[in-house]
C-alpha cells in the first residue's frame, strides 16, 4: 500500500473524472490521474507516461529507466506479486 508500483499509462478513459488505464507488469487496470495532471501536463498528454501507482492512483511521474529499476527491486522484495495479487483479488471482490 505504501510502496506503490510503477506502471505505464496506455489510455485516457474519462478526461472529466481524470480516469485512465495503466499497464502494471502486463496487468491493465483503471487508475486515477488527478495527482499528475497540471496545466502544463493535461490528461491527453499523459498517455505513455510512466507513473508510480499507489492504490489505484498515479501519484508521481517517473522516467522509464527509473520505473524499470524500481520494478526490479520491488520484484526482489516480493512486492510486485503482492500488488498484482491485490489487483486480481479486488477484481474478484467486485463480482
Amino acid at each position: 500500500m505504501c510502496l506503490g508500483i510503477p506502471g505505464q499509462i496506455t489510455a485516457i478513459t474519462d478526461t472529466e473524472q481524470m480516469l485512465a488505464e495503466v499497464n502494471v507488469s502486463g496487468v491493465t487496470r483503471p487508475v486515477n490521474i488527478a495527482c499528475i495532471v497540471t496545466d502544463d501536463h493535461p490528461p491527453e498528454t499523459c498517455i505513455g507516461d510512466w507513473v508510480l501507482v499507489h492504490v489505484g492512483f498515479a501519484m508521481s511521474r517517473i522516467d522509464e529507466a527509473e520505473a524499470r529499476k524500481t520494478l526490479a527491486i520491488l520484484d526482489e522484495l516480493g512486492e510486485v506479486q503482492q500488488e498484482l495479487d491485490a489487483m486480481r483479488d479486488s477484481e474478484q471482490a467486485l463480482a
Binding site: C35, L52, F57, M59, I73, E76, E83, D89
Partner: protein, 392 residues
C-alpha cells in the same frame, strides 16, 4: 559482507558502507551509547530486513524501527469498530488486505468474514466505489487507513462519489498523520533517537517543509529517503555526515520522486475532505494530539462514523505486549517477553507481528530465531545491558 553481493550494484553498496564506517569512526569517539537512527516508515523497515542492511552497519550504530506501519499502530478498539460495521447485514465492508488479520478484542476482520460478514479485500478505494455503484441496495464502507501517502486517494474517491451523487458509499476514516507522530516520538521522555529517515512516499505528498521543525526545533538531522537498499544506505550516510559536521537539516535523498513542495492536487483534495482530529489513539503509543484526520462536516453523508453507530470503545493492549517500547526504540523487537513464544506471525498478539512491514514480523521472518531468543535470555540475566550488535 555476505549481503552486499545481493545488491544490484555491490560496488556502490561497498563504497557507501566504507563511508559510513569512516564517519562512524569520528562519531563513536565521544559517546557512551549506540547512535540511534529511526526509520519512520514500515516500507524502509521491510527493505532493511530484506537486504540485511543492519548487519552491514558498523558497531555503535542502531536502526530503530518507527511507528510508520499504519496497520501496526491500529488500536484494537478500532478493529472492533470495523468488525461491528462489517457485521451489519446491510453493509459490504471493504478494506486493503493488510488489515484483515489484525486482531481485535473479539475477532479480526478475517474471522468476521469466515463467520459470514460481507468483508471484501480491495486494491483501491476506487474499487470500493465501483462496488457501491453495482450494489445500490447495500451500504459500501471503505476502511480508509494509512498516512498521507494514501490520503489523496480516499479524498479523491469521496469527491468523485459526491460528484456522481452516489449515496451508499462512505469511509471509515482512520488516516493518521506523520508529523505529529514524529513529534510525539521526539517528546517521549525515554526517547534517545539521534536522527531520522523520513518516509519517501509521505513526503511525495506533503513535501519537505513539514519536517523542518525536526531539524530546527529539535536539532535532529532528517533525510527524506527512497525505498531501494542503496537509497537507505546513502541516507544513513547523509544523516551521519550531518551529525559529524554538527548540522541538523532536512535533506532530500529521494528527489527523483519527492518534489520540494509535495503534490498540489493531492494536498488540495486532502484539505477539502479532511480536518485534523484533536487527538487519535494509537496502538502502543497511546493518544497523540492531532495525529489523525476525520471527514469535514460537508462530507457527513460519506462518513461512516456519522452514518452508523460504532462501539468506539477503548481497549487496552494485552499486558504482555511491549509494542510501544519497540516502536519508540526503547527495546529491540526480540527483547519483548512474548516475542517468538506467545506472539508469532501465526498467533500475533501485537500488530507489529501482523504486517510484513512490522518490526517484530520482520525479525521473526528474517532473523535467526534461536539466536534471538538466546540473546533475550542473556539480556534478561544481566540487566541492564546494551545490545550493540544485532544477531538478526
Amino acid at each position: 559482507m555476505k549481503y552486499v553481493d545481493e545488491f544490484r550494484d555491490p560496488e556502490k553498496a561497498r563504497r557507501l558502507q566504507q563511508r559510513i564506517e569512516a564517519v562512524m569512526l569520528k562519531l563513536r569517539k565521544d559517546r557512551g551509547r549506540p547512535l540511534q537512527i529511526m526509520e519512520f516508515c514500515g516500507g524502509h523497515t521491510h527493505t532493511l530486513f530484506r537486504y540485511g542492511i543492519e548487519q552491514m552497519l558498523p558497531e555503535g550504530l542502531e536502526m530503530v524501527h518507527g511507528p510508520g506501519c499504519p496497520v501496526c499502530v491500529l488500536p484494537m478498539g478500532r478493529v472492533d469498530d470495523c468488525v461491528a460495521l462489517a457485521e451489519r447485514p446491510d453493509v459490504i465492508f471493504t478494506t486493503f488486505g493488510d488489515a484483515m488479520r489484525v486482531p481485535g478484542s473479539r475477532k479480526s476482520l478475517l474471522q468476521a468474514k469466515a463467520e459470514g460478514a460481507d468483508v471484501r479485500m480491495v486494491y483501491s478505494p476506487l474499487d470500493a466505489l465501483e462496488l457501491a455503484r453495482r450494489n445500490p441496495d447495500r451500504q459500501v464502507i471503505f476502511f480508509a487507513l494509512g498516512f498521507e501517502t494514501t490520503m489523496p486517494s480516499t479524498a479523491l474517491t469521496v469527491l468523485q462519489a459526491k460528484n456522481e451523487g452516489i449515496r451508499n458509499f462512505s469511509l471509515f476514516c482512520n488516516h493518521i498523520t506523520t508529523v505529529p507522530t514524529i513529534k510525539a516520538v521526539l517528546d517521549s521522555p525515554d526517547m534517545q533517537i539521534d536522527a531520522f529517515l523520513a518516509p519517501g512516499h509521505v513526503s511525495m505528498v506533503v513535501g519537505e517543509q513539514p519536517f523542518q521543525f525536526i531539524a530546527a526545533d529539535y536539532g535532529k538531522p532528517i533525510v527524506i529517503t527512497g525505498f531501494e537498499p542503496l537509497d537507505i544506505l546513502q541516507s544513513i550516510y547523509m544523516v551521519l555526515r550531518q551529525l559529524a559536521e554538527g548540522r541538523s537539516e532536512v535533506e532530500n535523498q529521494y528527489q527523483r520522486i519527492v518534489p520540494k513542495n509535495g503534490n498540489d492536487a493531492g494536498l488540495q483534495a486532502i484539505a477539502e475532505v479532511f480536518e485534523l482530529r484533536e487527538y487519535f489513539e494509537w496502538r502502543g503509543l497511546g493518544s497523540i494530539d492531532h495525529s489523525g484526520v476525520r471527514m469535514r462536516g460537508a462530507f457527513a453523508d460519506y462518513d461512516a462514523e456519522r452514518k452508523f453507530t460504532i462501539p468506539n470503545l477503548k481497549i487496552a493492549d494485552p499486558k504482555a505486549c511491549q509494542c510501544g517500547e519497540v516502536i519508540k526504540g526503547v527495546i529491540r523487537p526480540w527483547e519483548c517477553k512474548v516475542f517468538g513464544d506467545a506472539c508469532t506471525p501465526q498467533t500475533p498478539m501485537g500488530a507489529l507481528m501482523v504486517s510484513s512491514e512490522g518490526a517484530c514480523a520482520a525479525y521473526y521472518n528474517f532473523g535467526n530465531l534461536p539466536d534471538l531468543l538466546r540473546l533475550r535470555e542473556q539480556k534478561d540475566r544481566r540487566k541492564p545491558a546494551s545490545t550493540g550488535a544485532d544477531a538478526a
